[in-house]
């Protein structure tokens, strides 16, 4: 087992442990911070796999963005029994059944697929190639992305703003 495989297993362990804590922690705030660990581990796996842009994306969007949104969501929901970990878990057997079903489905798909690396796979950094494509062949999509972001911005501001008297 080479050093890269060891590092891969290390990050895999970090993300699995983080996810387990996130699921099992009764306190929602602790679950969010455990999710941070899980997202960080996934970013590390991306980096080991040579997908450097994806790793950065994972950190910027998931660790930096999605987690912040979840944390703000907790701020807004306020004091509930769920947030404080005082609620009783209902429907546990059904939940386990559904989770097991999804897991078996994913595992089956994973085992059936082949993860062959095509002839184009290299260890070259991907970021510059992505930048080149984004500002070359996919320039329209790139500019439209800013329009979509603008739409989301206006939508969010509209939803939150006070009713004008």
């Amino acid at each position: 087992m080479g050093i890269d495989a060891i590092v891969w297993w290390l990050f895999a362990a970090v993300s699995v442990v983080g996810s387990l804590f996130a699921v099992l922690s009764p306190s929602i705030v602790r679950a969010v911070f455990s999710l941070l660990l899980a997202f960080g581990g996934v970013a590390g796996i991306y980096a080991v796999a040579g997908a450097d842009f994806l790793a950065i994306l994972q950190i910027v969007v998931y660790v930096g963005g999605v987690l912040v949104l979840i944390a703000f969501g907790i701020l807004l929901t306020g004091r509930t029994a769920q947030a404080l970990g005082e609620h009783e878990v209902k429907n546990r057997p059904l939940g386990i059944l559904i989770a097991a079903g999804i897991f078996i489905g994913l595992l089956g798909a994973l085992m059936k697929s082949s993860f062959k690396i095509g002839g184009n796979a290299t260890n070259e950094p991907t970021t510059e190639a992505i930048g080149k494509l984004l500002l070359g062949d996919y320039i329209v999509a790139f500019e439209f992305a800013s329009v979509f972001l603008l739409m989301a911005l206006i939508g969010a501001a509209y939803l939150v703003r006070r009713e004008e008297a």
């Binding site: 080479g2 050093i3 890269d4 495989a5 590092v7 891969w8 980096a47 080991v48 796999a49 040579g50 842009f53 950065i56 994306l57 910027v60 969007v61 930096g64 963005g65 999605v66 912040v68 949104l69 703000f72 969501g73 701020l75 807004l76 929901t77 306020g78 004091r79 509930t80 947030a83 404080l84 082949s114 993860f115 690396i117 796979a121 260890n123 950094p125 970021t127 510059e128 992505i130 930048g131 080149k132 984004l134 500002l135 320039i139 790139f142 500019e143 992305a145 800013s146 329009v147 972001l149 603008l150 989301a152 911005l153 206006i154 969010a156 501001a157 939150v160 703003r161 006070r162």
Partner: protein, 146 residues
């Protein structure tokens, strides 16, 4: 499970990340060692009810820390995410801008390529800052008004 390791077993992939891993390792070692040292050398303090209060003296704490916050915080969070995603687009653009080589077909010189890239990003940023201007004009970020 073998196929999962194929990605990890490729040659020299993590070499570039060695400094990052060293940094991660140092961060973990530093934080763990400081906690361990203070746990080993520190004085054990007996806790009691008063010690566990947020403030040991003064007015007694009332209510709970988990109160609901104004929805305005949500707008701040959403705005942060949007500009966060903007950075995602800036990053490959910046790398391409820094190392971009003209292909000789569309762009003859490096100056032409950089000019085009600059104009594209200017359009991108202008569209987003229109939204920012609108938000500021709408006073959506104005905290003063009751």
């Amino acid at each position: 499970m073998d196929h999962l390791l194929i990605v990890a077993a490729r040659d020299n992939a993590p070499v570039d990340y060695l400094p990052v891993f060293i940094l991660l390792l140092l961060a973990v070692v530093l934080s763990v060692s400081q906690l361990a040292i203070s746990w080993l050398l520190g004085k054990r303090v007996e806790t009691n009810e008063a010690k566990d209060e947020p403030y040991e003296c003064g007015i007694e704490a009332d209510g709970h820390a988990h109160t609901r916050f104004s929805v305005k915080f949500y707008l701040v969070a959403v705005l942060f995410i949007l500009f966060d995603i903007e950075v995602v687009f800036l990053y490959p653009w910046a790398v391409h801008f820094g190392g971009g080589v003209p292909d000789g077909v569309v762009f003859e010189t490096r100056g032409e390529l950089l000019g085009f890239l600059f104009a594209e990003m200017a359009v991108f940023l202008t569209i987003l800052f229109l939204g920012w201007y609108w938000v500021v004009k709408k006073k959506a970020l104005d905290w003063e008004e009751a």
